[in-house]
């Protein structure tokens, strides 16, 4: 049976321990060298970047997230042992793990690491579909001849390179479609390498809960449960018409997923639709200066992410959550797409000034959508705002300085409020 040593990358035959390097990290699977669709998911990505950059944190529980009122964005595996999970409110996480080191996200560092990983994936195949900074689908179909090695080996090499060169670990799911590849990558985290072959698909899914399906959240689960569907076996009892009648287009998809079928292609060109950032405050605030400071920082983050991806947007969105959790959103369409923090901030600020509401607020966010390439953006100035050209020049210069001397090298006074 085909086997692969994940440490020295030797291709083996049914050995449980690598005869070349003695490693027990050998993957054995009958379809190992035939499958081509992969999902790579970094392990506790943000936390791993922080630990890598600050070795003192290595054995400590690390939580990435904002403030006491925020939620956990990523918890390292040490913190996870204590029960901390992503999306958990910070106060709850700190109750479970009071000695945790809480770190504010450093998006630029994560984006940088993500870019490096992306470059490695691009060497494997042109068909890379990133889902976020830390995970992506890859279709390695037809690359075996090019690389002189089957996809499984190239993927094992990818995670090995990530570990050796970037100090970051990831888990691989390898299967025959996107749905199963994504399910697989989650089976054996961290540093996992899971394979779901064609012949075992039906058996594998049979007793698993339907919440495994990406896109089925608590609400989806509830409506499925009302129909008596909890596991994939339950789904199999429904015929296609009945599922479609009850759940619409999702029902049609469910019918196929129940059989382990997923026809969606890995698409390198599935563009991201929006870039946004939001922050929950330490305490509710109506102070315009404080809100203005947050707004600037959010605009700068959104702009930073747009610039990192070479994108710009034509719609600026402002999002505010009042103390009673009521959400206010306002959006404005621009004539000329932008990626500049200055423009995003000014537009969002204008929206804020026109709200006619004075808070207090618990959350503020800002976003950019209707995206296009940066080549099409910020092409013309504003007759009525002759200073805009200078400000945009200053922003580009600031970006250069930050690239050379770090993201804290230069900040606006506004950002300190």
């Amino acid at each position: 049976m085909p086997a692969l040593c994940r440490d020295c990358l030797s291709m083996l035959n049914n050995q449980r321990r690598c005869p070349d390097c003695g490693s027990p990290r050998v993957k054995v699977h009958p379809e190992l060298f035939d499958l081509t669709i992969a999902h790579m998911d970094c392990d506790a990505f943000y936390a791993s970047v922080e630990k890598r950059d600050n070795p003192e944190l290595a054995d400590k529980p690390v939580i990435i997230g904002g403030g006491r009122r925020g939620v956990v964005s990523t918890a390292c595996y040490v913190a996870r042992i204590r029960g901390v999970r992503s999306a958990m409110p910070m106060f709850k996480a700190l109750a479970l793990c009071p000695d945790a080191v809480v770190i504010k996200p450093r998006m630029s560092a994560y984006a940088e690491a993500s870019k490096q990983i992306r470059a490695m994936m691009d060497e494997l195949t042109p068909v890379v579909e990133p889902l976020s900074l830390d995970e992506a689908f890859m279709d390695l179909g037809g690359t075996a001849r090019l690389h002189g090695a089957p996809p499984a080996l190239m993927l094992a090499r990818l995670v090995k390179r990530m570990k050796d060169e970037l100090g970051l670990t990831g888990s691989i799911g390898l299967s025959h479609n996107k749905f199963l590849a994504k399910v697989a990558s989650d089976l054996d985290k961290p540093r996992g390498f899971s394979v779901i072959g064609k012949t075992e698909t039906a058996e594998f899914l049979h007793d698993r809960p339907v919440r495994l399906i990406w896109g089925i959240g608590p609400a989806g689960q509830e409506s499925l449960e009302k129909a008596g569907i909890r596991t994939f076996a339950d789904l199999l009892r429904w015929d296609q018409e009945a599922l479609t009648a009850r759940f619409g287009s999702m029902g049609y998809r469910l019918w196929h997923l129940a059989r382990g079928q997923d026809k969606r292609r890995v698409s390198a060109h599935d563009p991201i639709k929006s870039i946004s950032n939001e922050t929950t405050f330490f305490e509710d605030t109506a102070n315009p200066d404080v809100l203005d400071g947050h707004l600037w920082r959010m605009a700068e983050k959104v702009s930073g992410r747009a610039k990192a991806r070479g994108l710009a947007g034509r719609v600026v969105t402002l999002k505010l959550k009042q103390s009673n959790h009521k959400l206010l959103t306002r959006r404005i369409s621009l004539r000329d797409a932008t990626q500049m923090a200055d423009t995003i901030y000014r537009q969002a600020r204008a929206l804020f000034d026109q709200l006619g509401d004075h808070g207090p607020y618990r959350l503020l966010g800002c976003g950019l959508s209707d995206l296009c390439s940066e080549d099409e953006a910020d092409k013309s100035g504003d007759l009525l705002d002759p200073g805009a050209t200078q400000r945009s020049g200053a922003e580009r210069a600031t970006d250069d300085i930050r690239r050379r001397f770090g993201s804290d090298a230069i900040v606006k006074g506004r950002a300190l409020r």
Partner: protein, 373 residues
């Protein structure tokens, strides 16, 4: 109320009224037109609370009175009636219906009480003068393309009508509109009595409604202006509008003074060439590059996704070589304002606003912001 009125006359009056009425309306009475019959005429009044239009038409009034009906419904009915028909409108206060009769057609429409209809408060106007329809038409027609639709800078959502110093000395009646990308500044002789007119921002919708009043060159329009309202009136139609409550930015510093690279070109040839090369430009940016050399203008578009285009034009240009980019749409819009002489463009650098006028005529000046290409 009972009146008889010729279909054509009725259609004209109702058409004007229904165009003011907002399509998506949450207040039912605002969807209605107020019909008031008295003496030998009937008045149709419609409002969106910002604009009010009153149109009076001659009619045979059998029984004076007033009522309100849905403006669009009445307009649709009258529009579909045969030309030349005599239409009879009868309000029945007992049933609360308005009957519309013409030939063999008979309609019964729901009404709302006339007391509920909001009539715009009359106000004091600081300035009253008479302007020729052709003059007003030119002022607004040539400036309205530059009106902004941006909601955050709401004070740009109209035409700034005010009294200004003419570049040639003296005072002029001036209309300015801008959206930050282009600007139009149109002057005309100051009508007698307009000297003390306060500057007002006439909203986009009002500009559109005004257009229907100024078709007839011979017509004189009575204009009244206060700080908060503006009124345009012909003998039949009175259009009253609130003005935009805001300060129009100081546009004078936007109009370049030191541009001295002069290009003269036949406006329609130029517009056609721009339109042709822009065919291949990307749908959204529509960037066109102008390369100026001695007596030669090369227009080009290079859109990686769709293709490239180039066209050469013979022009009058004697200054240094220049490459500058513009949004094709903006170039076409300003070029289409030129109707008598050549278009004269005054450039500075590729990053500075460009000025355009017709020949040496200072009474219509356009400014357009370049774009990177």
């Amino acid at each position: 109320m009972k009146i008889s009125i010729e279909r054509g006359t009725l259609l004209k009056a109702v058409a004007q009224a229904q165009s003011v009425v907002e399509r998506r309306n949450t207040i039912p009475i605002l969807a209605n037109v107020l019909i008031e019959a008295e003496g030998d005429s009937v008045q149709f009044r419609a409002t969106d609370l910002d604009i009010e239009v009153v149109d009076s038409a001659p009619a045979q009034v059998e029984r004076a009175g007033a009522t309100t009906v849905a403006a669009t419904t009445l307009h649709e009915i009258v529009r579909k009636l045969p030309d030349g028909a005599l239409v009879t409108l009868t309000a029945d206060s007992a049933t609360g219906r308005l009957t519309v009769e013409a030939g063999r057609s008979n309609f019964s429409l729901a009404t709302l009480p006339k007391e509920d209809f909001p009539v715009m408060a009359s106000s004091e106007y600081q300035s009253n003068f008479t302007a020729n329809a052709a003059v007003l038409r030119r002022l607004f027609d040539k400036s309205k393309f530059a009106i902004s639709t941006e909601e955050t800078r709401y004070y740009l959502n109209g035409v700034y009508m005010h009294v200004a110093d003419s570049p040639e000395g003296g005072k002029v009646l001036r209309c300015v509109a801008t959206d930050g990308h282009r600007l139009a500044r149109i002057d005309s002789e100051l009508p007698a009595g307009a000297e003390d007119m306060p500057g007002v921002i006439v909203p986009r919708k009002t500009v559109g409604e005004l257009r229907k009043l100024v078709d007839d060159d011979e017509m004189d329009i009575a204009v009244s202006v206060s700080e908060t309202k503006v009124r345009f009136a012909t003998p039949e139609i009175t259009l009253t509008s609130k003005v935009i409550d805001g300060t129009f930015p100081d546009y004078t510093r936007v109009i370049p003074q030191g541009n001295n690279r002069r290009l003269e070109v036949d406006a329609s040839e130029f517009a056609q060439a721009v339109d042709r090369v822009a065919t291949v430009s990307s749908e959204r940016s529509r960037a066109v590059k102008l390369q100026l050399d001695e007596d030669k203008l090369v227009l080009s578009v290079n859109a990686p996704d769709s293709g490239a285009a180039e066209e050469e034009l013979a022009v009058a240009y004697g200054d240094e070589r220049l490459e500058i980019g513009f949004n094709a749409k903006y170039l076409l819009e300003i070029a289409s304002q030129v109707d008598r002489e050549n278009a004269v463009f005054m450039f500075n650098s590729a990053g500075d606003p460009t000025l355009m006028r017709e020949g040496n005529d200072q009474s219509a000046v356009y400014v357009v912001m370049p774009m990177r290409v």
